[in-house]
Symmetry: C2
Subunit: 433 residues, 2 copies
């Protein structure tokens, strides 16, 4: 607990833009172990195991990149009904490492599954055999470097020994810190709700856009719940919620080989089995998972490299959701918009430029633009009450809200991003100096 | 001739990356006038007229943005066989200015065409009437600001009085400087070739990615020739050549409301009329126009805001040209690749990331990557002779060549861009400070 924990209550971990994170406590059926196996020069945790003693139902979504890391190839092959754990390492992405990288995972899973099976035999009433394919992997870090198989293998014993059956907020923070690369803040979120009469917990951690020496824009998100829900329903919940949360966030438009968001259910809340995704008893649960995922996704954007501002971009009254999304991302990924926000510059012309270049249908005479509650463009014309001074004052806020009203339909989309600062360039260009 | 001309032979106008520009001389049938009408606070030329005494055949290509400036709307309505001039102003984009902006152009064209008709009557053997629709406009500068109609109208007399029938290199440089916004260097290029037995000239100027107070990433390019070629053939030549020149350049992935590239032929070279775009006599001419356009386009990238490096990205052996283009632009627009080049960092993982995110089909085991002549990835594996030191040394060059070999087909594409530096952020964020 040496990495950062002592500073935990320092203001550096608070995020004034999104709000301070909540305390996560125990989830039955889940155990956590966080250790250092020396992947970094400095002393810090770099290996985190989430272990499900009785297995967990699960679902994953992956990067859309055409080139994916070896651990994603591994995970995609898993088709067991339940998994027993996910092992997360930082510092090395295990991408473009070929068969060697894949074989490393095979060896580690073999070793880890054996140790976990032994642990089952010594600790559990009804010991279960853990198969290698029931271990998932998440990797984040440098691409193309040899995967540190031996360092990890040498520390697997220690990792399994340190498994904690009961979690408290410090254990969660230690795990959230252990998966960070260049994130400046751990990312945690939680919600509780009922399924029928059973109270269920939804806890999540994530890591964001760290692209420094470990040089990939990797987003990893892990959601844990004690709800009793099948993998197939979890899959639908994750697919639906990802669109407006992790997939609504962009830091610089770059996509990694390693992106992955997972959800795991231990089932210990013992709610009655849910047979269908459309069961009204699930409604509140789906909403709560969304809340946790959105909170984490916003933290990823807010802590994007060099970020000084958190930007929310809404496109409303579009003909299709796809058009609205295109416009949001065209604005969110525009270096000119992002540098203007960094410079606190009321430069609305750049937003209009980004709307135009999106390719989505726009009618100039119907287009309105708001910054916060200030109207700038009103149906294609500079609003008669527009005041550059008021607008300039607004741009000093830490949270910037941009709303584009197309007046072409009824569909909406919201995207989240951050500004583009000199620090981004420093982090990404100067790391070897 | 006060703006910059005295410094012309200073090294600041030389571009070591692309090579110093050539001297442009006289083109028969073309006249130039460059003046200041006070659009900027500082004293500099801001209004340039290219005037064709006997008219010129012409072709234009425009921005693909869904929101275009009023001058582009104006130009698109012109369907005369010949035009008599193009008026270029800086400082104001005449975009999102609505009917007022359009009406300003109407008034200016009315006034200018009258003055040019009077000039015809006093100067020419066979005076011609110049119609308002025979004047084209190019605007570049701030979006959404009221168009400075009066300042321009008040200086139209002066502009017409200063028309020079004969050009020399200083007049061309003055014109190239007069259309600049935040460009640091004027952009000029030339070529000569034969059509049949007639020697023809192809001259061009451009302005690039100036996005500071005049805040749009506007690219304007103007090509002039004395070749005798119809507008319909010019259109085909421009459409074909634009793909691999101006449309192969990106500075930051942003697209303006005002982009425009035009070609004008005075016909004074008196070559025999060409009836078809496929006429073999045109081959050398098409190639020479391409050469001029490519040279100008490269200068735009090389002088992109804050650029310290010029980057050429080739994708070879792709199944389709579209895939190759997607991959080139995915790399060229990646902030992570661009900051790595700025930082002289041999970070090839970011290039692989950009290839993967492009969405184009890639087979990891067939993918090779070269930096200059150094092979990095060889069929999906780090080449056995790879040396980070050699690669790091290569990254110190001013010109960086990235080649991606997909080994999936026979199609290729080449894109041009520059690095992303702290100065880009300074220019685009801090301009009001």
């Amino acid at each position: 607990m040496d990495f950062g924990i002592n500073n935990f209550f320092d203001k550096k971990y608070k995020d004034s833009k999104i709000g301070h994170f909540q305390d996560l406590e125990h989830i039955d059926g889940l155990s956590i172990s966080t250790i250092s196996c020396g992947l970094y020069k400095e002393k810090r945790d770099d290996l985190v195991l989430f272990y499900f003693r009785d297995g967990a139902t699960y679902a994953n979504v992956y990067t859309q990149s055409r080139l994916v890391s070896e651990n994603i190839k591994w995970n995609k092959k898993t088709n067991d009904k339940k998994v027993f754990g996910i092992l997360i390492n930082t510092r090395n992405a295990n991408a473009l490492t070929g068969k060697d990288g894949y074989n490393s995972l095979r060896k580690i899973s073999l070793n880890l599954s054996k140790l976990l099976t032994s642990k089952q035999i010594s600790d559990e009433d009804k010991p279960k055999e853990v198969k290698p394919s029931q271990i998932l992997f998440a990797c984040t870090g440098t691409i193309g470097e040899k995967f540190p198989e031996n360092k990890i293998l040498n520390n697997i014993n220690n990792l399994v020994e340190k498994i904690k059956y009961t979690q408290n907020k410090l254990i969660w923070i230690k795990a959230a810190l252990g998966i960070m690369t260049t994130d400046t803040k751990p990312k945690l979120s939680m919600a509780e709700c009922k399924i029928g009469n059973s109270l269920v917990k939804i806890y999540g951690i994530a890591k964001g856009s760290g692209m420094i020496f470990p040089n990939m824009a990797t987003t990893l998100g892990f959601i844990f719940t004690d709800a009793n829900i099948s993998s197939s329903i979890l899959k639908k919940i994750l697919s639906q919620n990802i669109k407006t949360t992790f997939n609504a966030v962009t830091c610089d438009g770059d996509t990694s080989t390693n992106d992955m968001v997972s959800i795991f259910s231990t089932g210990k809340a013992n709610n009655k089995e849910i047979k269908s995704f459309k069961d009204p008893k699930l409604k509140q649960f789906i909403k709560s998972v969304h809340q946790v995922m959105l909170n984490l996704a916003k933290r990823v954007a807010s802590d994007g490299e060099g970020a000084t501002k958190f930007i929310t971009i809404k496109c409303i009254n579009s003909k299709t959701e796809k058009d609205a999304k295109n416009i949001c991302f065209s604005i969110a990924n525009s270096p000119l918009v992002k540098t203007a926000v960094f410079g606190q510059d009321p430069n609305w012309g750049r937003i209009v430029m980004a709307i135009g270049k999106s390719g989505a249908p726009v009618r100039e005479e119907k287009l309105s633009l708001f910054m916060g509650s200030n109207i700038i463009l009103n149906k294609g014309k500079l609003d008669k009450n527009y005041s550059e001074n008021v607008f300039a004052e607004y741009m000093k806020n830490e949270n910037i809200d941009i709303t584009v009203d197309l007046s072409l339909g009824t569909k909406n989309f919201t995207a989240y991003t951050m500004d583009l600062s000199k620090e981004y360039i420093e982090i990404n260009a100067d790391y070897r100096s």
